[in-house]
């Protein structure tokens, strides 16, 4: 049996832990609280934290050294992300893990020079503009139009679920430059600063408290030099970026399970043999199994990337498992707490209200980043060769 995590990888993890333990307590606590409130976008303290990491050379673990990264393997990148998830600290999410690597693959030298150093310093934050009111799972039907005007595009349309747009510095924008009937062959990918004129951001508050946005684009002008890849070739860029987005980590469900364990310890249920303790231990035992399986699904993705492959069905399996597990831990965790779990986030809320917060946030874990129904089809068709 091949070993995935070597002694050298563990040394890296040890160094990282030592580094994180030495950071300013105030900064860590503020970044953690902010990230627990809404993990989808680094804001004031999260940004300060990422800039600290960037300044100390800890961002871009698996980026090539020629672009300012550490040039380490995908396994170390996995350890990095898992360690930060375990501490509930921001890890750079989309910008560092999706946009940067896609730019390295598809960007021009000028584009790389313009964006990569800022990303590694933790100064740039991208929001992704793919979904539209009538283009959700069926992304290839998007309608936001970009019309060429000399060396610029003029963009008109609407994006929705553009998480992070209210705090981002840049927008990574899929637009239609070809005909609608050409579907994915008529799409281009553009980058624009968020402060360009013609962008209006309207926040949408979700039931979990996370903020996402609708973004209206009216005669927004974007230089053609800000197009990633060829005109009408944007689907390739979108696909490349999605491949980097297909990693889901296991320390988020582990963190939720830990919240339940801490509550149970306070209630004297974690050990002991009362009926309530028995029920709790049995349920948590199975969750613990499923968290370890989630770890192995995430690690498999990292191993494939480290071997130069791209996880497809494997990433879909990871995503389905991860989202359903998190939802299940929150749901059954509240079952174990009982009526007191109806107390909303306050000093009186059991498990600090984290399980309720998780349950309210959980729908997006199942339908976001490609609905689980689509993931199951990917597993069956790409993984098992079943017909469509």
């Amino acid at each position: 049996m091949k070993t995935a995590v070597t002694a050298e990888h563990l040394r890296f993890l040890g160094d990282l832990r030592h580094y994180l333990d030495g950071l300013d307590d105030g900064l860590i606590e503020a970044a953690r609280q902010e990230n627990i409130e809404d993990p989808m976008q680094a804001r004031e303290h999260g940004r300060r934290f990422l800039q600290q990491l960037g300044g100390d050379g800890w961002l871009g673990v698996s980026w090539p050294q020629e672009y300012g990264g550490q040039g380490r393997s995908a396994i170390e990148h996995w350890l990095f992300a898992e360690e930060l998830y375990n501490r509930r600290l921001p890890n750079g999410l989309t910008t560092l893990n999706v946009i940067g690597p896609t730019l390295i693959l598809m960007g021009t030298d000028e584009q790389k020079a313009a964006y990569l150093p800022g990303i590694l310093r933790g100064e740039l934050e991208f929001a992704i503009g793919y979904s539209e009111p009538d283009a959700g799972s069926d992304l290839a039907s998007l309608r936001t139009r970009a019309v060429r005007d000399d060396d610029e595009y003029v963009v008109n349309g609407q994006k929705v679920w553009t998480t992070g747009a209210s705090v981002a510095t840049h927008l990574w924008l899929a637009v239609r430059t070809g005909r609608e009937e050409d579907r994915h062959r008529g799409i281009s990918l553009l980058i624009t600063p968020m402060d360009a004129s013609g962008i209006t951001v309207t926040p949408i508050i979700t039931q979990g408290g996370e903020c996402t946005n609708a973004v209206f684009l009216d005669d927004l002008r974007i230089p053609a030099s800000q197009r990633i890849g060829g005109e009408n070739d944007g689907w390739q860029t979108v696909t490349a970026a999605l491949n980097f987005e297909r990693m889901f980590y296991h320390n988020e469900p582990r963190w939720e399970l830990r919240q339940l364990a801490e509550w149970a310890a306070g209630e004297d249920l974690l050990t002991g043999s009362s009926p309530a303790a028995h029920a709790l231990q049995e349920t948590m035992g199975e969750h613990a199994v499923d968290v370890e399986i989630c770890r192995l699904f995430a690690l498999r993705g990292a191993r494939l990337l480290a071997d130069g492959s791209v996880p497809y069905a494997e990433a879909s399996i990871n995503k389905v498992w991860w989202g359903e597990l998190r939802q299940r831990i929150c749901d059954t965790g509240m079952d174990l707490i009982g009526e007191e779990a109806t107390i909303a986030r306050s000093e009186h809320a059991p498990a600090h209200g984290h399980l309720d917060h998780g349950l309210r946030s959980s729908p997006v874990w199942r339908f976001g980043a490609g609905t689980n129904e689509i993931q199951l089809d990917i597993i069956a068709t790409r993984g098992l060769g079943l017909p469509r």
Binding site: M1, L270, Q281, V289, L296, F297, L384
Partner: protein, 370 residues
Amino acid sequence: MIDPDLSPDELLLAKTVRGWFDNFVDNTYLNAQEVSDLGYEPHRWKEINRLGWSSINIPERLGGAGATLAEAAIIARELGRAAYASPLLSTVRTATVLADAPADPRSDAALTELVAGAPAALVAPPDRAVTATSSGSGGFRLAGRPVVVEWLEAATSVVLVVPVSADGHWLYALVSPRELSGRVTPVPSIDNERAAWLDLDGFDLPLDGVLAHVPGPQADYAMARANLLRASLMVGGCESVLERTARYAKEREQFGQPIGAFQAVRHHLARMAIATDAARLACNDALVRATPDAQESAIVAVALFAAGRSYVQVVLTAAQVHGGVGTTAEHVLHHHFRRAKAMQLRSGRRADRLHEIHDALIVRGEGSLW
């Protein structure tokens, strides 16, 4: 499928074992063996022994192949794929426990007999149905309910692993089948394996049979390594049933198209793939980590639980995808269907396993870097 976790040598072993079973094992063969007197063919057992598979992880100094637990687990996986019933799993499990036990000439002698082709049975009730109490002067008396033991009647060596009441230690003991006469009742099994009921209540362990008296965690770990072989067997079962069912969903047509073209059926297959991968990755992770010098009982418990749960889930869904044809004695699925539940239950009660996992992973924080 090819498991990317296997080393080239392990892959070669897997292919060799699979090829050997493919030569003669099919549903007709399994059906015939299930109703035969012995439940397996002694000449096949001799062949398995000659190939070195029943003694693969016995040390070379005793005549075994000195292989890793992972290599033994690969043989178990192929056994699980084939749904082949024999004393092989119980023999390799027994050998694993004996080889891990404190060095003793009597264990060495027993292992040498296994190398020579003796089938063995392991009496290690998973839910502590039997306990030992000191009866003075170094002897022990056993107490408890009758327990089900796989392939007890075929075995010429019997090893007991039981807890000692009061001191938290466990006993390893060697017993000859002769000493158990009158205490063994053959019972039919829900799958194609053979088993007997063994009533140990009031049994005085002969003093010269007691091999070792070891602390609980050490015995837990020895049993964990033996249990990993069963987990691997169940992974093989998952893989085989998944592959068959995917093939069937591509071939079987209804409403003018393969049933696998219906999204509801595709999603069934996707869930089977997820369950199979969960079991295999957990088992392989445990096999990497559970070396003799480590103490990785927690991750093995995870693998054993995951493999049992997955195997049952996979066969239940496979039966749904196959419909009527999968329920007949003419289709090999009926063997996997029964073996899945039986193999899962041979690890004991679900609630007991989950409590142990809870204690290890949640309370003691074992099993992970985080």
